[in-house]
Symmetry: D3
Subunit: 201 residues, 6 copies
């Protein structure tokens, strides 16, 4: 007979100390409260990284610079890059959290699981497939990136600026994935179901 | 602007011909109808493999021999082995279909996503972790299996028969994962949500 | 001075219990006796897997479904797939046992050693080389199989049904290789020499 | 006879557009001028990343948060982590630029080449070796980080905060290495010789 | 139906020009004739490498320095290292030719196939297993060799000089394997059967 | 605070015994003295390998046969192959020693660091890039060398004899790299700076 897993009632969200919201610097607390207001809960990455306020500020600035900017990739496509990258890097937090965001953005409940498992089997366009092939090369073999990789993107209408976007998002989430695995960062339970059940609106 | 993915209304479930249910040999049709009655739908693997009735019969016989037998592993633990194996083998069908079965068996809506992404971060017992470490070695480096791997299992109370079960399930789903990737087998949409929403409690 | 290896007089054929022939269920005993009559000895895989009669039955059914069926691959070519796959998976039993069968079928005493070591250096036709390239991809990177892999086969006259045969044989022996390594299955001494000495008949 | 390489007189420092210093936002131009004053030249990474001012700001903020903070690692040790990481990631810019900084900090002209090639053969203390073993695991297998990796650090007197520092520097330069390879970022010629010739002694 | 392989009656032994024996420098011709007298045929490696007489002389000098010297490894054990190394490097010539020599030396017809496929499953002593584990590490990860690898050898009675022998034989046959694969060096047919049939007993 | 590395005043140049120059056989001592006269110091590889005089003689003969012969590769190009190979094999001695020789031959102070880190980012001609791509394949996947690899060389004007040179230098330094890592061979301090400072011109 097997011993059942008995996770503690409230599993740790990080193997490092996690600050309480009231103890945070004002700017971070305000940002986090704004997220909470919008999402209905505080994604654990905010609290876990807030153990180091300066790093969290830089992390958020980098995140915003890549994900809030204008550009040739839709918001949904940027999340596709994140989910596929996080799947290859085997990062539970980012697969689950950004999988949720992707489902919400694209209104496709199946897409995140497809991309996290094997982007070759996902319901995406050939252009998006080329985008993810480029991302996977940056993720795993950035030292082997050549002009021919850029040409493959151009064949699908991507510009060099789009290539930078794809590569930079992949590189930034390579950092994020490594930090999450380092911290044993636990995804909020809420993420797992988000965007899976189509809303009746 | 990116071209949106426009999957055809009814995407193919396999890149090979898929027989119609009425055209199947009686024994297979009956088995499939029984599954349909229980699950509410026909899992695509049945129809896709039915392109080769003899192979499907052998596949089901092997499946049943490993998953319906008595033994030291619970039904849920066997599915844990399958989901972790399928994640490493990057097999979309098995991750999604057996992830659903695992959620239903274990009544833990988060477990399948955890195991498919990184079994080291899953809410499982140390014993189950040892089980999956053994499975991952059979999956990726079966040629390096040594007596010390069996000893690591025994330290958690597993017998040699349990080790066979773990290894055989891993090996069988290695076959299954390769076939599914070969066929580009598409998971039924129904699987993605199964077991995610806790019933009425 | 080095200590010589002194293997016990009758080395174990499996690290798991091996049933005696008389103790087996009738159907399995009869099948095994038929093999023995034909081959002159009982291949160890039968006895080792007979520790689990239901699994052995399924194994044999799968084996027969793939290797006894009609199709575009000759019996010898199917064994080529098996030997090359088993070489890559580093499975001693299957390299030695199926190497013997391959030599007998093809009447080429050198072919098995060539394929087990490096299929690129074997005395095979370009068509057979394409067959084995496809098999090696299924064996090692089934998640990356694409339509272009099927096209490469078609360029050599293979149909989609042939592709299924190649892929399914590779997948099934991936299972077989993992089980043999798990059991530390020992090849019968008889296999090593079979088909190496051309018979004067 | 071989065709000699004839690099253009002024090889591009990035495959993306590089802004002129006067065109930069004030804050970035001032920061860069301060670096130039101190170093005697502008490291190419500043100009190349300045193509995206918001990203450069975030990059510098993250960099400063990790490298200017107090902590258990000396400045030289942080550069050791960077050089070893960049060697494994095969990033020319970071190997050359941070190799120079490491030589200057540690006043050991040989250390950077040793670490970039094989950290196991470098003139470092056992404690520093443990630090780099942890960094290499975060760099290549962050998904496999376990408590035992933290224990190995503790055996050398490292705290959990030190572990965060090591892991975060590794993760951040994994981002930096990917961006530099993406941009084909060219190291300034000045870096190659810095710190190699011991001053006046 | 598959196209049968129809190798030319006398397949090339190398993809490079192969000199005729009479055209060779005297010293090499004499050495080769001596080998021919002893073995009954000229191993193809002699003729293929004789395309570059100076390289062949150096090759033979290195070979003799490692394999004819006194030392803690028996002649058979040195061939075990060669066969296991050549298996991992997937070098057909060396697996077949040195497999033959190993069978002759050790009078164990099964040993070469075991070692070429998976040294963990071979009929060897624990001491020989340790020898091959060290060799496999030099073969695949020489950059990671540490004092602990030497300690593992010492636990089985190997001296540092023995370790040098094991490592140097592995390194030299790494060179040999690469050259044979580069030349597409074909093993003499005679090797395949040598030492497989026990003489008169 | 971290414990500083305190290397012993004269670190060992090899983990094996190193003979004194006067104790060497005459031929080796004379060769070494000649090198010393030319270079100003005795490269450590001579002394370390002299622990086994016969092996050192064979090593030098092989080295000379490949590096002193006429051929389509310049001396500088041969060193490029060596440095790139040694970088991939993570061999500190050869990266540092042959990096120095390369700088001296090519009078390009930056080239060695570029090639040791990532040959794709080096200031070399397309022809030299093709040469190194071939070398890298021999270094890492010699078993996969095919005629198409030779064709890629021919497209840049390389003959088959050039291909042999490239492959043989790569293979020989694969041996050299493994021996250096086995011995923990320490590069002479002199090499690190050689060829970095352009002479007064």
């Amino acid at each position: 007979m097997s011993a059942p897993a008995t996770p503690s009632p409230a599993p740790a969200i990080s193997r490092f100390p996690v600050p309480a919201l009231p103890d945070l610097p004002d700017d971070l607390r305000e940002r986090i409260l704004a997220v909470q207001e919008k999402a209905g809960f505080v994604p654990n990455v905010f609290l876990a990284l807030a153990h180091r306020p300066d790093e969290l500020r830089a992390f958020l600035a980098y995140h915003d610079a890549l994900l809030l900017k204008e550009g040739g990739l839709t918001k949904g496509e940027r999340e596709m890059v994140i989910v596929a990258t996080s799947g290859v890097n085997r990062c539970l937090y980012c697969v689950v959290a950004h999988g949720a965001i992707l489902r919400v953005y694209e209104k496709k409940p199946l897409l995140a699981d497809q991309l996290a498992t094997n982007h070759r089997k996902a319901d995406i366009s050939p252009r998006q497939r080329a985008m993810l092939d480029f991302a996977m090369k940056v993720c795993r073999h950035a030292d082997e990136i050549e002009e021919s990789d850029y040409e493959a993107l151009r064949a699908h209408g991507f510009t060099d600026e789009d290539a930078w976007d794809i590569g930079a998002i992949t590189a930034f989430f390579g950092l994020s994935n490594r930090m999450a695995n380092l911290m044993a960062l636990r995804p909020n339970d809420e993420f797992y179901l988000m965007g899976r059940v189509p809303r009746q609106k």
